[in-house]
């Protein structure tokens, strides 16, 4: 099982020349890159590599998932909690195509991942051989880089490039396809980590004059507001961000993937922006005078209608990817570079401020949201259980130390809204792609990468059944993840939209569900179902106290809705509370 130690470039070994097979070279490259855990599923075209994994099993832990999609999400969970590159493997044909959803997810959420696929022998390429598929063609639009290897001698250099590309700059997924003959072929192996590629500039230089211009604008602002994203976490700039926020006294909100970079309880943390974000930061996006975006990409779920988004504000964009600047929102000052460097350069130029009156605006709107939404979510007086009170209970039992791995839908929004985060890299969820089925396998990877942390998967009854077979992986590896299914017998978010925008025509959103507790028990996982409020606290306590995997089903109110909400195409300032 993996651990959370980081391995610096200097510690990577340069392996000296020896004659070995291509497949052994793959394993030795992985070891040289500091990989300890890979997720995958064997099959014909990748059998030589699996044979080497067998020989190296004391050095490299292979986790057999129950579906290749599960392998990618597990690798993503591993990467998201550790900051290291996640690794997934599959055979050719259907094995490779099953990776695509996870790869697309990693691409849009900038997750460092290397996928290795077996391919039919090079003389069979293009012959419609058994389990042949053009995975390079298929994966091109959803990978940061991909490459097909047909000669063993290419393996060290290509894999070194793969890890370098996946991890550097704005991270992303890389797929390497290796023909079966290249896996068998012997060659003189030598491994050197990749340190640069001439056509690739991962991190643009931070321009001091841009930093100065940004500082001047921030210093002159009366109503500044920060929205930070995952760039802060990927760039490990949490401390720098905190210092900036505290010195300049700026109310700061986060995107879904930025969550946990600054503790939830921090007085300047004003909550989440976006479609189901908090009332105050959404509403006041359209009242601030300077909007400072840090490591975020103005996704449509964040901005609502662009034509009415922060039009009154000057916009400063701190961003590592030049293609994101002016992509959705026109910026007045763009500061390129990684967040850690840029924010460190910004800090000494900022004047200490407190902006008390401006803060009070946020507080006032928080009180409105509390009365209309939060109170009912967290302290319900009605009979049915709410998703919010389950989150509250998990916060209590984990003291905010847990990593929350959520799936996609209503429960995800509730988890992101109400989870109490104390530690960065703790909100692991499929943000950009919205991949149902993400959470269960991602939680496996997260727990393996951070065995000393509590990892709680929060999943809806719909998404759970998309990757439910990974319970088998949990049983086989004994990875002690905690699984909470918030069951409302509906595809809740779609049902909410049907209620609000399609006159309650519940087309194909009602689920007739199996006995989830029995299913978990079938995999020898401790399991419990909660249907009443008075059972909840003890059940969550028991789950968190357990040393092994635990499944908790909470039957919640069937037709609850998630608010606040910005309807599609509406302005952020038209955020609805009911």
């Amino acid at each position: 099982m993996g651990n959370t130690q980081t391995i610096t470039k200097d510690e990577k070994q340069v392996v000296t020349s020896t004659r070995i097979s291509g497949s052994e070279a793959v394993v030795r490259c992985l070891l040289a890159e500091g990989v300890e855990t890979v997720y995958g599923y064997p099959g014909g075209a990748i059998m030589p590599i699996y044979d080497e994994l067998y020989k190296y099993q004391d050095k490299l832990h292979h986790v057999l998932t129950r579906h290749e999609q599960g392998a990618t999400h597990a690798a993503q969970g591993f990467a998201r909690i550790s900051g290291k590159v996640g690794v997934a493997m599959a055979t050719s044909g259907p094995g490779a195509t099953n990776l695509i959803t996870g790869i697309a997810d990693a691409q849009i959420d900038s997750t460092p991942m290397v996928c290795i696929t077996g391919q039919v022998a090079s003389h069979l390429l293009g012959s419609d051989a058994f389990q042949e598929t053009d995975i390079i063609g298929i994966s091109t639009p959803v990978t940061k880089w991909n490459h097909q290897i047909t000669k063993a001698s290419e393996i060290p250099e290509v894999l070194a490039k793969a890890f370098y590309i996946a991890k550097s700059g704005r991270p992303g997924p890389v797929l390497i396809d290796i023909t079966k003959d290249a896996q068998f072929e012997e060659f003189d192996f030598e491994y050197k980590p990749c340190e640069a590629i001439r056509s690739y500039k991962p991190v643009p230089e931070t321009q001091p004059e841009q930093v100065k211009a940004a500082a001047d604008l921030i210093n002159s602002a009366k109503k500044p507001m920060i929205v930070w994203g995952q760039g802060v976490i990927l760039g490990e700039a949490e401390e720098e961000l905190k210092a900036v926020i505290e010195k300049a006294g700026i109310p700061s909100a986060w995107t879904i993937l930025g969550a946990s970079a600054i503790p939830t309880s921090h007085p300047l943390n004003i909550g989440m922006v976006g479609m189901h974000g908090n009332y105050a930061p959404n509403k006041l996006t359209n009242e601030c005078d300077v909007l400072i975006a840090i490591g975020m990409r103005f996704d449509d779920r964040v901005t609502g209608n662009l034509a009415t988004y922060a039009k009154q504000a000057k916009v400063i964009h701190f961003e590592i990817d030049p293609a994101e600047v002016d992509k959705n929102v026109k910026t007045d000052i763009a500061v390129l570079g990684d967040a850690k460097t840029s924010l460190a350069a910004l800090l000494p130029l900022l004047e200490a401020k407190s902006h008390d009156n401006w803060h009070n605006e946020f507080k006032k709107l928080y009180d409105v949201e509390f009365e209309k939404v939060i109170k009912n979510d967290l302290h319900p007086t009605k009979e049915g259980l709410t998703m919010g009170e389950v989150l509250k209970q998990i916060n209590t039992e984990t003291k905010g130390e847990a990593a929350i791995v959520s799936d996609v839908g209503q429960h995800q929004m509730i988890a992101c809204r109400y989870a109490d985060f104390k530690v960065s890299k703790s909100n692991i969820t499929s943000g950009g792609l919205g991949t149902m089925g993400f959470a269960l396998p991602a939680a496996i990877g997260a727990k393996m990468a951070a065995p000393n942390r509590e990892v709680v998967a929060i999943i809806g009854d719909g998404g759970y059944q998309m990757t439910i077979q990974e319970l088998g992986t949990i049983f086989q590896t004994r990875v002690p993840v905690k699984i909470v299914v918030l069951n409302n017998d509906f595809l809740g978010m779609v049902r909410q939209w049907q209620q609000l925008f399609f006159d309650r025509r519940y087309a194909s959103t009602e689920l007739v569900n199996p006995d989830f507790v029995q299913i978990a028990k079938g995999y020898h996982i401790d399991a419990k179902r909660v249907t009443k409020r008075e059972e909840l606290a003890d059940a969550v306590k028991e789950m968190i106290a357990s040393d092994s995997a635990y499944f908790l089903e909470v039957c919640v109110e069937k037709e609850d809705n998630v608010f606040p909400m910005i309807p599609t195409g509406a302005s952020v300032s038209d955020v609805r509370l009911s």
């Binding site: 390079i136 063609g137 490459h147 097909q148 590309i165 001439r198 030049p322 002016d326």
Partner: protein, 176 residues
């Protein structure tokens, strides 16, 4: 920034790797943009490929597309230019029955006036080559059409820019 569609010439310097065509064309395909023409060739720099792509989009679109192209790992640098900023040419070939060359005196005059070159002549057919601006090629095509053309083909645009594209310096910097 102009919101009207206009012709832009995109010049891309890249590594010469399998699959890059797919990666670049996917950037246009994903945005529902038709590629008017695409040419890949060697460049003035050893080991570096040069692509010339012609598209009809708004300036806002082309700026974003250049950003996405440059983001690709194997792309060294990408530029976009209006027609005024480049010297551009296309080339075309006509395959025509040889009889016409002798039977229709007019054809000989058309060839002479157009500065087209006869590439080959045999008993059955001759091949005419013409390079130039699209309009010149179209004019010649229109003039020859009435006589009957056995085959016609036109290349994509190739273009050099009037101003320097600072690419060699970048590669030099990498070596140092």
């Amino acid at each position: 920034m102009s919101q009207e569609n206009q012709i832009y010439t995109v010049s891309i310097y890249t590594e010469n790797n399998i699959g890059l065509l797919n990666r670049i064309s996917a950037i246009f395909q994903r945005r529902h943009i038709n590629i008017e023409s695409i040419v890949s060739s060697v460049s003035e720099i050893k080991g570096v490929s040069r692509w010339t792509i012609v598209v009809k989009v708004t300036e806002e679109q082309i700026k974003k597309i250049i950003g996405q192209i440059e983001k690709q790992v194997e792309v060294i640098k990408a530029f976009y230019h209006t027609d005024d900023e480049t010297i551009h040419q296309e080339s075309c070939l006509f395959k025509i029955k040889s009889d016409l060359l002798f039977d229709e005196r007019q054809i000989q005059n058309i060839i002479k006036d157009s500065n087209a070159n006869i590439v080959t002549v045999n008993k059955k057919f001759f091949v005419l080559e013409k390079s130039g601006r699209r309009q010149e090629l179209d004019e010649l095509h229109q003039k020859l059409k009435p006589f009957g053309i056995m085959q016609f083909v036109r290349s994509g645009r190739i273009a050099v820019t009037k101003d320097e594209m600072k690419i060699s310096e970048m590669l030099l910097a990498f070596k140092n």
